[in-house]
């Protein structure tokens, strides 16, 4: 395709129409994109395309394998455990999803569907292959409308236990949670206050991966899988990345800003406004042991301690919890009660961090004079 500039006599009328010019520019841009693409980039793209098409193949084979495995055993042996172990075996032998979560997720999901399609199958679970055991902790305070849906999503995942901490409930939340068979209920008639339920649930949990959820927010199991998988593979604190849904700085609230400030002074500006205050998030057993469960009651403090203890912290998924966060009395508007609570939490976190690594948290206390000198010469 020849798109070089055409020579034109000086002063001759411009004959190319605007549309033509636009087209030509489009061609040039496309052309340039191809030219500057390295060979490895092209290869990567091909591989990506291949992977995409092979996932459907993978899903088909996984589905068939699931059916075959379920049919191969007696009806009473078709349990969640059998589903998981048989998938593990199959995945080890034939799995083509590799280590990528999307590939694993697709085949696990398809395998489960195939397995459950066999009549008389009791257990249905997406056999996300985890080396460690996982616990889910759900705090509930008057959330009868959503708690059942939250638990239904969690039940799709291979949790060892699902702990529901009910506190101060005056509605039918308890009855709703009771409908789910494999759920451990911790019931407190009085309100425990913000985030205390999480700490109490964590103290009761035995798993090596702890996923924290609230009863008012339904997150699809598929998105939660990322948290379990990340902690299983060595992350200690797996956070949800909400930065895509935040407005520009001038439109942010004080809470969002204080989260970013805490991360900044802890030397983790890359974490932006992401915090343990937001759910979902997952912690490793190592994190729980090092921080102690009581620390979880003040989430920013727990995050600060996690950073200072050298735990591995990263964002692992992008789930929009802002739009679906329930609006309650006292959590809306600048300077609301919950906002003040969280601001106080951040002050507490800063104070705790200062106890450990000095008032300035390692930020320069280079003498102002020296700094002035360096700047003045610059």
């Amino acid at each position: 395709m020849r798109t070089g500039t055409r020579t034109r006599m000086k002063g001759a009328p411009r004959r190319t129409s605007r549309r033509r010019l636009r087209q030509a520019r489009g061609r040039r841009v496309r052309h340039r994109a191809m030219r500057f693409k390295s060979r490895s980039a092209i290869r990567r793209k091909r591989r990506r395309l291949a992977a995409k098409s092979s996932i459907s193949l993978l899903e088909r084979t996984a589905y068939q394998a699931g059916m075959a495995q379920a049919a191969a055993v007696q009806e009473d042996q078709r349990t969640r455990e059998h589903l998981i172990t048989s998938f593990r075996d199959w995945h080890r032998q034939f799995g083509r999803g590799g280590q990528s979560l999307s590939g694993l997720w697709a085949s696990a999901n398809a395998y489960n569907k195939g397995y459950s399609a066999v009549p008389g199958t009791a257990g249905s679970v997406i056999p996300l292959l985890l080396d460690k055991s996982a616990s889910a902790i759900v705090t509930v305070c008057d959330e009868e409308k959503t708690v059942s849906a939250v638990l239904a999503e969690l039940e799709k995942l291979p949790f060892r236990e699902i702990i529901v901490v009910l506190n101060g409930c005056t509605d039918r939340s308890f009855a709703e949670a009771r409908k789910h068979k494999n759920v451990t209920l911790l019931h407190y008639p009085e309100r425990l206050g913000h985030d205390v339920g999480r700490a109490i649930g964590a103290a009761a949990a035995v798993g090596d991966i702890l996923l924290f959820m609230d009863g008012d927010l339904v997150v699809p199991a598929e998105q939660l899988g990322a948290f379990l998988y990340a902690v299983d593979k060595g992350t200690d604190v797996a956070l949800n990345d909400i930065s895509s849904w935040l407005p520009a700085f001038q439109g942010q609230d004080s809470v969002t800003r204080s989260k970013a400030f805490l991360n900044l002074v802890l030397g983790r500006p890359d974490l932006k406004s992401n915090s343990l205050t937001a759910i979902p998030h997952a912690l490793s057993r190592r994190a729980i042991t090092m921080l102690g469960t009581a620390a979880l009651a003040v989430p920013p403090k727990a995050l600060a301690l996690a950073v200072l203890s050298g735990l591995k912290i990263s964002t692992v998924a992008k789930i929009n919890v802002i739009k679906s966060n329930r609006i309650r009395k006292g959590n809306t508007g600048e300077g609301n009660a919950v906002g003040k609570l969280i601001l106080g939490d951040h002050i507490e976190a800063l104070g705790e961090a200062m106890k450990r690594s000095g008032v300035r948290l390692g930020l320069t206390s280079q003498p102002r004079a020296e700094l002035a000198k360096a700047r003045n010469s610059g």
Binding site: A248, Q250, S258, V265, A297, L341, G351, A369, N376
Partner: protein
Amino acid sequence: MEIRRKRAWYRSSHRPRASSSSKAPGRWKLFNDPDPLVSVIIPAMNEQRTMEGVLREAGRVHPSSEVIVVVNGSVDRTSEIALKRGARVLTYPYPLGHDVGRRIGAEAAKGKVLLFIDADMVIASRHLKPFVEAVASDGADIALNDYSGPVERKEPHPVVLAKYTLNAILARPDLRGASMTAVPHALSRRALEIIGFAALEIPPLAHAMAVSMGLVVKPVYSVPVGQLNARRGKVRGSDPLSSLVTGDHLEAVRWLIDKLGPRAGYTDLSRQRGRLRS
């Protein structure tokens, strides 16, 4: 060239050229009132290029004023120019930094209103007067520059973030990014007596003290100093000034914690900490 044009951007350009030429170099001199209402405090380090303009504008702020230049670590003609123009000059052979320079200037000041400006940018006197007026006649103890820096992006400059967060913690989100870290700002004598000279060396600390001790802190007028500031090179890959200023904000937070408790007086709502076992 580019920088020079930018620095002079806020100069009073409305004034006819003839009037400024009547104040030809060598003619005009500052008058330091022995009992001034306003003290203008200017820390300066190697600022011979802008010194003259800064002094001229400082002298026009108020009829009863004194101009104090704290020349520190200068190897150029800064001190000569300041003396020639009749400013009170305090000279230090070694660099002090802006904040320490301001403290020293404040200690020497006699005025009821203290106006702090920098020597590296010329700000026209009409943009300085609102700060003095707010303190002298509008009852403000601290008149701040109502300029918050660029906030259009999701992730602002660390210093902007620190200022906003400190103001939020101080329950003054209305101040946005206004802070004693930025010039111009003016202080009343009362403010100075309450927060003390030493605090001026850490401006966010002075700011936090002023707000929490009940002084009247007002953002009064916006001078976009961010656009006037000279771009300085980064030293060894990181920006040491950001780091210093952010650290200063932490010191302010620490002061609040020491004074008001670990949560600086913020609610714990219904949190039952007694239930926790570690």
